[in-house]
Each structure stands twice: as structure tokens, then as C-alpha cells.
Amino acid sequence: MGKPRGIPYDRVRPREGGEDGGGVQRRDFLKTCTLAAASVGLPAWTAKVWAENAAKGLKPSVIWLHFQECTGCTESLLRTSHPKVAELILDLVSLDYCETLFAAAGYQAEEALHAAMEQNAGKYICVIEGSIPVKENGIYCKIGGRTALDIVNDVASKAGALIAIGACASWGGVASADPNPTGATGAPEVLKGKTVVTIPGCPANPYNFLGVALQYATFGTLPALDELGRPKFAYGRVIHEDCPRRPHFDAGRFVQQFGDEGHRLGYCLYKMGCKGPATHANCSLQRFGEVEAWPIGIGHPCVGCTEQSVLWKMPIHSTVEITRPTPPDVYPEIHGKQGKVGAVATGVAGLVGGALIGAGLMAAKKVAAEPEKEK
């Protein structure tokens, strides 16, 4: 589309057909694309589409907004290096505004934002990271003199797709914890009426974000979302359903104390406060940090970081209610036991029955006696 690429990035990757030689680069690029497609759950043939689009310079614009956030979600995304998906995304999309990764700042940055919005109106992906304070007209977060509230409403108004990454952008996150002095709010609530894809998590699992972004980038569609805007492919099930420690739960093998024998053997962490049964996420399947790590895997109970009703609301080590109970790993007998013969009841029955029969037999004599007659 011949749009100027704007401010250069921190990381630059050799281009196809560049100094290192075309053929090898192209094969590597395609391989990486294929791996990337697999890791975000898109079919392998999308890799070809991406490679072709990239060659043609057809890249969707991405505007990344940062508000009340710790930048953990961005960092989480940048840690995806096997495959080099983060680099890939930077090749497949045009990251036209991103405060974390920009070399520039100040007026230059704001101009880039403005230009990107103008030129890609209605088509750019707006990514929101961090919560938006709403108290006192949103003065608790201001960038370039504008409140986060104003910025998000402005940028979102012309966006093609809205993605809220992380718990903060999805529902308020840590800033919204009691007493929430700034009125930290998630993007969906601020942008009422608009479709906002939320990728909750603290941090969000980057592959969940990548799956949505790449799908939109390739097909212009968004995946199926639940009532909170979370993509069902990632947030449709709770941790408890896919947890590798589930057989321990079903068999009643629990960790009772950190460091005990059960903990060493990898038993279920439910009694240590695991919020898996109440937490929608796919962490057990799509791990973190490029080393297949995830909290339960390293022996700490899930804290429910995707769920507004769990994280910052429930104490980490208190047990959560099981809302969809299933049978344990034991079987009922063919002939189940029912009823019992109570000791007290037997006693009462014996006493009363015996008394009545005894009294009856004895009463015969009394009753038989003729009443006093006048005669």
C-alpha cells in the first residue's frame, strides 16, 4: 500500500533477499512461519500466505497502547524466541506505534500515532495493554497531555480490531485491586458497545495473543469469543480440566504442605489454594517462557490470574469452590449400602412394644374384673 514505515524498531531482522542471500533466508523464513502458525493453532498453509504478504509488503498496521501496566505482557511476548515469533510478528505486521519498542519519543512518537491512524483508519489492530483509570475524568494516567481515557476512545474509534492484552486491559488487573483508588477499568468496560478481544492473564500467555493477531492479520476475522471477549480456543476450559495433575486430584492425592512428600511427588495442589477449577486459561497446554514452565508445573498453585473474580479477590492459599464436580477415582459397589438400624430407635421400639404387650397381658386381669354392681 506504499505507506511509509515510520520510525525504525530496536530489533532489525535481515530481510528476504537481503545481504545474507535470498534462498536460505526464504526457506528459514517459511519454516519459522510454519512453526509460528502451529504454535498459535492456525493451519500450516497460512504460513505461505504470510510469507507472500510479507514479500509484497502487505502488512496490517498495529497500534499498541500502554496505560496502567507493568509492561509484563509486552515482555512476555518478547520472550517468545523459540521459534522467533516475536521477531516474526514484527515482520508480519507493521508496528506503527509502541511506546516500549520505539526508539523515538515525544512529538515524533505522537506524530507517528496520528499518521498511522489516518492512513489505516478502519483497518489497524489496536492493542491495549494496561488498565484505564476513570476516576476524576481519568487524570491518573496521562500521555502527551491526554488522559488514557481520551486516548483509548480516540484510537479505538477508528480501529479495525481491538485486542486487550493482559488482566489489566481485560478487567483492570492489579491496579483495580481493592480499594482501586484510580478507578482502574478494563478496556471492554470503557469501550462499551465495541467488540474487544480480551487476552487476560498476568501476564497473558503470548501465544494466545499471537493466535488472535495473526488470524486477524491473515484472514481479517476474529476467533470465537465468550461473553467476556476471551477467545474460546484459549479460555474455553478451566485449568482443572486439562491439568496434568488431575489424576492426583481425582485419586485424592494432595499436597498438604509445601515441601512435603506429596509436593515432591507432584501431587495436586488444590489444598494449597490452587484456583485451577475456577480459572479459564490454557496454561497447562500452552506453557510460558520458552522452557515449558507454568506455575503448577513448578509446584505452586494457580492463582487464577486470568479471572477478575479470583485474582486480587481470593487469598492465594485458600481453596476455591469446585463448581463443576466430577466423580473421583473410585467406583461404587454393585450393591450399595442404604439405611441402618439405629441403636436408640431399636431401644425405643423394644421398650414401647414390650411395655404395650406386657401391659396388655397384665391388663387382662384388671379388665376382666367385673365392675361394682348395684345388684
Partner: protein
């Protein structure tokens, strides 16, 4: 004294003879019930079941059943069918012999519960499925006495109790009469379909692999036949899985033959009433004649 006893003897003989005649005459032929042409059913093959209990969870979900909590509130742990559980997997284990068995309503062709129910709350309705109507049921629990498989369960813990049992998912949202248990079984151990097809399928399985199975399809004739059929592993008789030895006689046959024998068309009671009235009237006339004497 002698007169009284003689009279009493005569009277008793009379009453006794009448009732005995009623009882004896009653054991006449009673029409044999067959499955309706559109009968639906299930076929459970114990040789295929792995005891995963997905059917137990699916049934609870599809029927919005409450949880039967264990004391720690971790699991749904019914120890038998009950007011919260319409379908269950039980385990039979004797030494090395192991078999699972799925238990739920058998949807009998001539059900005891239907014969029992005074007001037709339990009836064979669409597709021969035995269903319960809360608008009629008074909670007398005669159905629980009548069912040889101990299937209808009562909500003892409720002030407004229901009778609870499998109704072949007749009220399942968007998929009525599509049992969730069959839908979710990962090994097709329990399958759903037309009763006639399932019976054929069961016979075919027995013919194709006779060494695998006990040589009987439970429900083919038992108790007059059931629309839910069972196949058991070789070496695991059906009694071991908790099924009663019923023979082919339909469950309600004896009781109904007697009832109908005596009360058919209400003739016997009407005739008896007329006789009683006549005798009383004659005696009264005699009495007033006596009283009229000086």
C-alpha cells in the same frame, strides 16, 4: 353358641369361596406387551466400557442434576443411583475378574412402575420411554416397591420431592431423546438407537464373537423385556453385575391378573353390592316383623 358357630362357618365358607373363585378365575390370559414400533433404547456392552464415567458427568450436565457431594466437597460422588443421580457406573471385581456396569432406567416393555402408579404419573410415553409426570405424582412411592431393578429414586431431602430416574434425555435442550451418555462415550460402550436395530446389533455381536460375551442379552426377555439391553463379559454373569433373575414373566403380570379377574368391568363388586343389600333388607324386614310381635 353352636348356632352362631355354624352360621359363622357357613358365612365364612361363602365369603371364602367367592374370593377364592375370584382369585382362581382371575389367572386368565393377559395380553403380552411388545415394544412400540418407534421404540428407542440403548445397548450397553460391558466388554467395551473402560469406566471413565464420562457418561455420569454428561448425564448430570444434560439434566441439570445437583451434585452429590462427598464430605470434603471435592467430588460428585454418588454411591448409587439416587435423587441426584440418574446414571451411574459401578464396578464388579472378583479376584482377577473385573467389569464395569452402567445402571439407569431399563425402560421396560411392560414396566412394574407403570403398572403400580395409581394415577399414571409414570407411563410409557413417546418412543416407549418411561417418563414421570410431576403434575400427577403424589409421591406414594409404590413405583419404588414395584421396580425389580430399584430404579426410581426419591428426593428424601426435599420438602417438595420428585421421583428421579433416567428419561432418555427427553427434555434435553435442542436434542430431545438424544441421550447425553451415549453421545459422550469415548468407546461407544453404550449406544443409542431404535430398539429393533439395537436388538439386532446385540445378536450380531454375540454371533460374531461368542467367546467374548456371556451368552445372553439381558433385557431381551427378562421381566417381559426392556428397551435398554445389556451384554456382559464372558465369565461375568448378570447376577454378579446386580441384575435380578426375573425369568420371562412381565413384572406386573400376577398382580394385574388378580385385580382384573375380580374387578373386570366392576361386575363382581356390583353384584356383591346388590346381594348384600338384598340380604340386609330381608333381615330388616324380618326384624321389624319380630319387633311388631307383642
Amino acid at each position: 353358641m353352636t348356632v352362631d358357630r355354624r352360621t359363622a362357618l357357613k358365612a365364612m365358607a361363602g365369603v371364602g369361596a367367592a374370593a377364592a373363585a375370584g382369585s382362581a378365575v382371575s389367572l386368565e390370559a393377559r395380553e403380552k406387551r411388545v415394544a412400540p414400533p418407534d421404540a428407542l433404547g440403548m445397548l450397553y456392552d460391558a466388554t467395551r466400557c473402560i469406566g471413565c464415567k464420562a457418561c455420569v458427568v454428561a448425564c448430570k450436565d444434560a439434566n441439570n442434576m445437583p451434585t452429590d457431594w462427598d464430605p470434603q466437597r471435592l467430588y460428585d460422588y454418588p454411591t448409587d443411583l439416587n435423587g441426584k443421580t440418574k446414571n451411574i457406573i459401578k464396578l464388579y471385581k472378583e479376584g482377577e475378574t473385573v467389569s464395569y456396569v452402567k445402571r439407569q432406567c431399563m425402560h421396560c416393555i411392560d414396566p412394574g412402575c407403570v403398572g403400580a402408579c395409581m394415577i399414571g404419573a409414570l407411563q410409557k410415553r413417546d418412543h416407549g420411554v418411561v417418563t414421570w409426570d410431576g403434575d400427577r405424582c403424589i409421591g406414594c412411592r409404590y413405583c419404588q416397591i414395584a421396580c425389580p431393578y430399584e430404579i426410581p429414586k426419591f428426593e428424601w431431602d426435599k420438602a417438595v420431592p420428585k421421583i428421579v430416574k433416567c428419561e432418555l434425555c427427553k427434555d434435553r435442550k435442542d436434542k430431545p431423546f438424544n441421550p447425553a451418555c451415549c453421545e459422550v462415550c469415548p468407546r461407544q460402550a453404550v449406544v443409542f438407537g431404535k430398539y429393533s436395530d439395537l436388538l439386532e446389533d446385540a445378536k450380531r455381536r454375540l454371533a460374531d464373537a461368542p467367546d467374548l460375551y456371556e451368552p445372553k442379552i439381558f433385557g431381551e426377555h427378562d421381566g417381559g423385556g426392556t428397551q435398554v439391553l445389556y451384554l456382559s463379559k464372558a465369565g461375568v454373569p448378570f447376577e454378579a453385575l446386580g441384575f435380578p433373575n426375573l425369568g420371562e414373566k412381565p413384572v406386573p403380570e400376577t398382580a394385574q391378573k388378580i385385580q382384573h379377574g375380580v374387578y373386570q368391568g366392576f361386575i363382581t363388586p356390583a353384584v356383591l353390592y346388590v346381594i348384600l343389600g338384598a340380604v340386609i333388607w330381608r333381615n330388616r324386614k324380618g326384624q321389624s316383623a319380630e319387633e311388631a310381635k307383642p
